[in-house]
C-alpha cells in the first residue's frame, strides 16, 4: 500500500497524469471485481489540469476511489443495484466535492452490497468482490470495493459508508485502516441513503495519518444535511488519553481464537506503551443485533420507497397498470437482501407493531447509549475485535441470513450510539488473513481514537 504522501512524491517525480494513468490501468487490470465504473476521461483530464497548475490543493493529483453509493458525475451511481444500473446523477455528493476541492482525483466507483445491505459484497447485483489477500474469500462489506481498492494499492484511499460496520469490517478483512466518524461529522448529502439515523461517511486508507488528514477535509457542518454537527474535528492538541477498556462481551464465546489472540496482543502493546487497560462490560450489548435489525430495516423500507420506477431508474411494466409498474420495477431493481429488509421494515412499522417493535427497540437503544456514556466518563476509548472472524469464504453463508446478521454484533453497537469507531490492522491469522482492532470512542472523539490507533499502527505486522 502507498500513503498519500508517497503518492505525492510520485507525482512530484513524474506527473499527476502518470500517477493517475497508472491507477486507471491497475483498476482496469483488477481481477477482484473491485470497480463497477471507471472514470477514465474526467480523471485523466483533471490530472492534466493538475500538471498545468490549473488545479491546486493539498491533495492535487492524488487518485481515490468512491463507493458506488456516492453521487458523482460522468458515470452511473448504481448503488450496486439493477435499479440504478444506468442512473447518472445530475449532481455530486458533498464528500466527493470536498475532496475534489482539495485537488484529489476520483478514478472510479467501487463495488458494494446492493444499497449497502450486507457485509460481504455478495449482495451486489454485479457480483462479489474478492478479498485482497485471498481470492476465495469475501472482501467484506458493504464497502468491500473501497477496502480492496486500497489494499491492492490501486488508490491510496477510498470513500465508504458505514451504517452498521460497513467501513470497519471490510477494512479489517483486507488489512487497511477504516474510520467510521461520529454520526453527523461528515455530510450525507448526495449519498444513497440506507438508514438515515446511523449512516455515516468515512474513509478507508493505508495509514491512520491519512485518515486524519482526510477527516480535516471531509468533516464539517453542511447546510444541506440538517443532521451534521457544528465543526468539531481538529488535530490541534490531539489527546491520546491514557485509560482504555477492553469490551468483555467481544472477547468471549464465538470469537475466532486467532482473532482473539491478535487483539490480546494489541492490548498488551497498549499496556507496554503505558496505557491503563481494564476489562469493561456493556450488558446490553446482547440486544444490539436485535435493536439494529429492527430499527435499521424500518428506515431502509422508508428510504427505498422512492424507487418506484416513475421518475428515474429501472422501469418495468409500463404497458400495465400503475401497480404493475411498482411491483415489476421494484422486483427487478432490488436484490433478495433488499427485499428481505423492506419486508422486515414494513412489518415493524405496521399498525399495531410500531410500539411493540420499533418504539421498544428505540428505547433499548437509548439504554445502550447510556451504558456507553457511563463508560466514557471513565475510559478514553474501548477496544475489541471488529468481527468475530477473519474474512469468510465466498458463498459460505448466503443461505443463512441470520448467521450473517449475527456477524455484525461487534460493529452495530457504535453505529446505534452514533460513536466514532475505527479498524486498524493488528496483524494476521496463521493463514495470513488480516485482523483489525476496533477502537470505539465517545461522541466527537474521532481525533482521539485516531491518535490512539496511530500508537500501535505498523507495530503488529
Amino acid at each position: 500500500m502507498t500513503s498519500i504522501q508517497a503518492v505525492q512524491s510520485q507525482i512530484a517525480e513524474s506527473s499527476a497524469e502518470a500517477v493517475v494513468a497508472s491507477a486507471l490501468q491497475k483498476a482496469h487490470a483488477d481481477t477482484h471485481n473491485t470497480f463497477l465504473n471507471i472514470m477514465e476521461h474526467s480523471a485523466l483530464e483533471r490530472a492534466r489540469q493538475v500538471d498545468r497548475g490549473d488545479i491546486i490543493g493539498p491533495l492535487a493529483g492524488v487518485p481515490f476511489a468512491v463507493k458506488d453509493n456516492f453521487l458523482t458525475h460522468e458515470v452511473p451511481t448504481t448503488a450496486a443495484s439493477n435499479f440504478l444500473e444506468d442512473f447518472v446523477s445530475p449532481l455530486q455528493a458533498t464528500a466527493v466535492k470536498k475532496l475534489e476541492a482539495q485537488g484529489a482525483i476520483c478514478i472510479g466507483k467501487v463495488n458494494l452490497d446492493a444499497f449497502a445491505h450486507g457485509g460481504s459484497t455478495e449482495n451486489s447485483a454485479f457480483g462479489v468482490t474478492k478479498n485482497a489477500v485471498d481470492e476465495t474469500r469475501v472482501a467484506g462489506g458493504s464497502s468491500g470495493g473501497s477496502a480492496v481498492a486500497v489494499a491492492l494499492d490501486i488508490v491510496p484511499f477510498a470513500l465508504g459508508t458505514d451504517t452498521g460496520g460497513s467501513i470497519r469490517q471490510p477494512a479489517s478483512f483486507n488489512g487497511v485502516v477504516g474510520l467510521k466518524p461520529t454520526y453527523g461529522a461528515v455530510s450525507r448529502y448526495g449519498v444513497v441513503a440506507m438508514a438515515s439515523g446511523t449512516d455515516t461517511i468515512g474513509v478507508l486508507s493505508s495509514t491512520v495519518g491519512d485518515a486524519e488528514l482526510l477527516m480535516t477535509f471531509l468533516s464539517g457542518q453542511d447546510a444541506r444535511d440538517m443532521t451534521t454537527l457544528p465543526d468539531f474535528f481538529s488535530l490541534d492538541e490531539q489527546n491520546n488519553g491514557k485509560k482504555l477498556g477492553v469490551i468483555k462481551e467481544f472477547m468471549g464465546e464465538g470469537v475466532d481464537e486467532q482473532v482473539r489472540a491478535r487483539i490480546e496482543a494489541a492490548v498488551e502493546q497498549y499496556k507496554t506503551l503505558g496505557y491503563d487497560v481494564e476489562e469493561v462490560s456493556l450488558p446490553l450489548l446482547k440486544y444490539a443485533i436485535a435493536i439494529y435489525y429492527t430499527v435499521i430495516p424500518a428506515e431502509i423500507s422508508s428510504n427505498l420507497a422512492r424507487y418506484d420506477g416513475v421518475r428515474y431508474g429501472t422501469q418495468k411494466g409500463k404497458d400495465g397498470s400503475l401497480t404493475d409498474v411498482y411491483e415489476l420495477s421494484r422486483h427487478a431493481g432490488f436484490v433478495q437482501e433488499n427485499k428481505r429488509r423492506i419486508i422486515i421494515g414494513n412489518y415493524v412499522l405496521s399498525s399495531g407493531f410500531f410500539d411493540a417493535y420499533y418504539q421498544k427497540a428505540q428505547k433499548a437503544r437509548t439504554l445502550l447509549i447510556n451504558e456507553f456514556t457511563t463508560l466514557f466518563a471513565e475510559y478514553d476509548a474501548l477496544l475489541g475485535p471488529v468481527s468475530p472472524s477473519p474474512a469468510f469464504t465466498i458463498g459460505e453463508s448466503v443461505d443463512d441470513p441470520l448467521e450473517v446478521y449475527l456477524r455484525d454484533v461487534m460493529t452495530v453497537p457504535a453505529s446505534l450510539a452514533g460513536l466514532p469507531a475505527l479498524s486498524v490492522p493488528v496483524g494476521a491469522t496463521d493463514s495470513g488473513l488480516p485482523v483489525g482492532l476496533q477502537i470505539i470512542g465517545a461522541r466527537k472523539s474521532d481525533a482521539k481514537i485516531l491518535a490512539i490507533a496511530r500508537e500501535i499502527e505498523g507495530k503488529n505486522e
Partner: protein, 486 residues
C-alpha cells in the same frame, strides 16, 4: 332521499380537517419557488422535490414561523418540542414514497375558534391540533395515461383538525369561512381558494337525536369552496338519514363531491384503507422552540376577526354587514381606525354601510393598502353627510371616487366640490327649485293627494326636487319648503 319528517329525527355531527398552504417564498424542505400558480409543470422543482437518491430535506424556518403564527390565530398552545414523521404510501404524486408530516408531536396544540352564525349566535369549535406537513404533487388523467406535475410537491401546509363540534351544514360553512379569515388575517396563506390554498375534508355522521354514540362517518375530501362544504354536508345528511331509514348501514368511506352534479360519490372504503407505517423522520432534527422564540415569531400580530367583532359590538350593525366587512382585512383595519377615533355613532355606522354595500369584488384592496383610501378621508366624508354638506347619494359617489387614482391626494370636500356635489342648504336656491317642481303639471296628482291627507306623496315631490338639483338639495329642507308652500 329522506323526507323532512325523517330528517327531523336526526342530528348531524361534523368535524373538519383543513389544509392551509403557507405563503413562504420556498418549499418546506427545498429551495424551489413555492408559488406554483400559472407556471409550467415540473418547473418549480429541485432534486429534493423529485426524490433523487441521496437528497436530504432542509427545514424552511419561515414555514415554522408561519405555523407558529397560525397557532396563535387558532388560540392554540405552541409545542416547545415537535418533530416530523414519515407517512408511507405509493402514488406517483408522492416522489419519496412518503409524505413528511407530524403524526406524533404536532407543532400546534389544542385551540378554540368562535364561529359566528348568520342568526347572530356563536358556535365554539374546538381545535384538536394542527400539524405541519408537505403537500403532494398533482396528477392529470388522460385516456390511458396520467401526467405528474410536482410543482406543488413540498409546498408547506398546516392541517387544522377540528373536534366534531359542528352540527349543521350552515355552521360547517361558517367555520370554514372563519378559518379562512383567521389564516388570511394572520398572514400565513395567500388564501387563493381557486388555486387550492385552503382545502377542506369534511367528516359527517348522523345519529338519532339524543343517541349516546355518534354514527359511522363518511369523509368528503378535497372541498375548496365554502358553498361546496355546505352543499356537501346537506347532501350527506340526507343521504345518510335515507340509508338509516331504509335500515341500511352508513359505510365508513372516503367520498368525493361534484360541483356539477351536486352529489357525493364513494371513492374508497375503509377496507382499502392503507397502513401508513408512520415513522419518525431521521433526516430532520426535532423543532425545539423557547418561549422567547415563540414570542418573537408571533410579534406584531394583527387584530383578529373576533376582536374586531368585540370592538364593534356597540355599533349594532347587521351581522351580515360585519361579515362582509370582515371578508377584507384592510377594510376592517381602516374602519376600526375610524371606530377608535369617532366612537360608535352614526358617522361610523355610515362608513361601515358604505363599505358593505360596495360589492366585495369592487373593493380595491390595493387602493386601501397604498393609502389612497385612508380612515381620515372616509371619516371626513361621513362627517360631511352629518353636517348636511352632502346628500347620502352624493356621498356614495364621492366614496367611490376615493378609490380612484384621478382624485389622489384630494380631501372628500375637494372631490365633492370638483364634482359639483356639495349640498345646497340655501333656502332661497332650494325654494326656486321647489317652485319649479310644484308648477310642473306632472306634480298635480301628488299635490292633490297631499292636500287630501295622503302625506306619503310628499316623497315623490322631494324626489323630483332632488333630481332637478342633481342631488344637491338638502332633502329635509326641501320637504319643509314643500309643506310651507302647500
Amino acid at each position: 332521499m329522506a323526507t323532512q319528517e325523517q330528517l327531523q329525527k336526526y342530528d348531524m355531527t361534523i368535524g373538519i380537517e383543513c389544509h392551509v398552504q403557507l405563503a413562504t417564498r420556498t418549499k418546506l424542505f427545498s429551495t424551489a419557488n413555492n408559488d406554483a400558480r400559472e407556471v409550467t409543470p415540473n418547473s418549480n422543482i429541485t432534486p429534493v422535490d423529485y426524490g433523487l437518491p441521496g437528497m436530504l430535506p432542509v427545514l424552511n424556518w419561515e414555514a415554522v414561523r408561519l405555523a407558529v403564527r397560525a397557532g396563535r390565530a387558532l388560540g392554540s398552545e405552541i409545542a416547545m418540542h415537535s418533530h416530523f414523521d414519515r407517512k408511507h404510501y405509493f402514488y406517483p404524486d408522492l416522489p419519496k414514497g412518503y409524505q413528511t408530516t407530524q403524526m406524533y408531536e404536532p407543532i400546534i396544540g389544542a385551540g378554540l375558534v368562535a364561529v359566528p352564525l348568520d342568526d347572530g349566535t356563536t358556535v365554539e369549535v374546538r381545535i384538536h391540533h394542527a400539524h405541519m406537513e408537505e403537500d403532494a404533487g398533482k396528477l392529470t388523467h388522460f385516456d390511458g395515461y396520467s401526467l405528474v406535475d410536482l410543482n406543488r410537491a413540498g409546498t408547506p401546509l398546516i392541517e387544522i383538525v377540528s373536534e366534531p363540534d359542528i352540527h349543521s351544514a350552515a355552521a360547517a360553512r361558517a367555520y370554514a369561512t372563519e378559518l379562512y379569515r383567521l389564516m388570511t388575517y394572520a398572514g400565513v396563506t395567500r388564501g387563493d381558494l381557486y388555486h387550492g390554498n385552503m382545502r377542506f375534508d369534511v367528516n359527517i355522521s348522523v345519529a338519532l337525536k339524543g343517541a349516546a354514540t355518534l354514527g359511522t362517518r363518511a369523509e368528503v375530501k378535497n372541498l375548496n369552496s365554502f358553498r361546496s362544504i355546505e352543499r356537501a354536508a346537506e347532501y350527506e345528511f340526507k343521504r345518510q338519514v335515507a340509508l338509516l331509514e331504509r335500515g341500511e348501514p352508513v359505510l365508513q368511506e372516503t367520498r368525493g363531491w361534484s360541483d356539477d352534479t351536486q352529489v357525493t360519490t364513494s371513492q374508497r372504503s375503509k377496507e382499502d384503507a392503507q397502513d401508513y407505517r408512520y415513522m419518525p423522520d431521521p433526516d430532520i432534527p426535532p423543532i425545539v422552540l423557547t418561549a422567547d422564540d415563540i414570542t418573537l415569531m408571533q410579534a406584531d400580530f394583527p387584530k383578529l376577526p373576533s376582536e374586531y367583532r368585540q370592538s364593534w359590538g356597540d355599533l349594532e350593525l347587521d351581522s351580515s354587514v360585519i361579515a362582509t366587512i370582515l371578508d377584507h382585512q384592510p377594510v376592517a383595519r381602516l374602519l376600526d381606525a375610524i371606530v377608535a377615533q369617532h366612537g360608535t355613532g352614526n358617522l361610523v355606522r355610515r362608513a361601515f354601510n358604505w363599505f358593505a354595500s360596495v360589492q366585495a369584488e369592487d373593493i380595491d384592496t390595493a387602493a386601501l393598502e397604498s393609502g389612497l383610501v385612508d380612515s381620515h378621508r372616509v371619516a371626513e366624508l361621513s362627517k360631511m353627510v352629518e353636517d348636511n354638506k352632502l346628500s347620502s347619494t352624493s356621498a356614495k359617489d364621492v366614496f367611490l371616487s376615493l378609490f380612484d387614482e384621478l382624485y389622489k391626494g384630494k380631501t372628500a370636500e375637494e372631490i365633492a366640490l370638483e364634482k359639483n356635489l356639495l349640498q345646497v342648504s340655501d333656502e332661497g336656491a332650494i325654494a326656486a327649485v321647489v317652485d319649479e317642481v310644484l308648477a310642473d303639471p306632472a306634480s298635480t296628482k301628488a299635490i292633490e293627494d297631499i292636500r287630501s291627507g295622503n302625506d306619503k306623496a310628499i316623497g315623490y315631490l322631494v324626489g323630483q326636487i332632488m333630481k332637478k338639483s342633481k342631488g344637491k338639495a338638502n332633502p329635509s329642507l326641501a320637504q319643509k319648503l314643500v309643506r310651507e308652500k302647500l
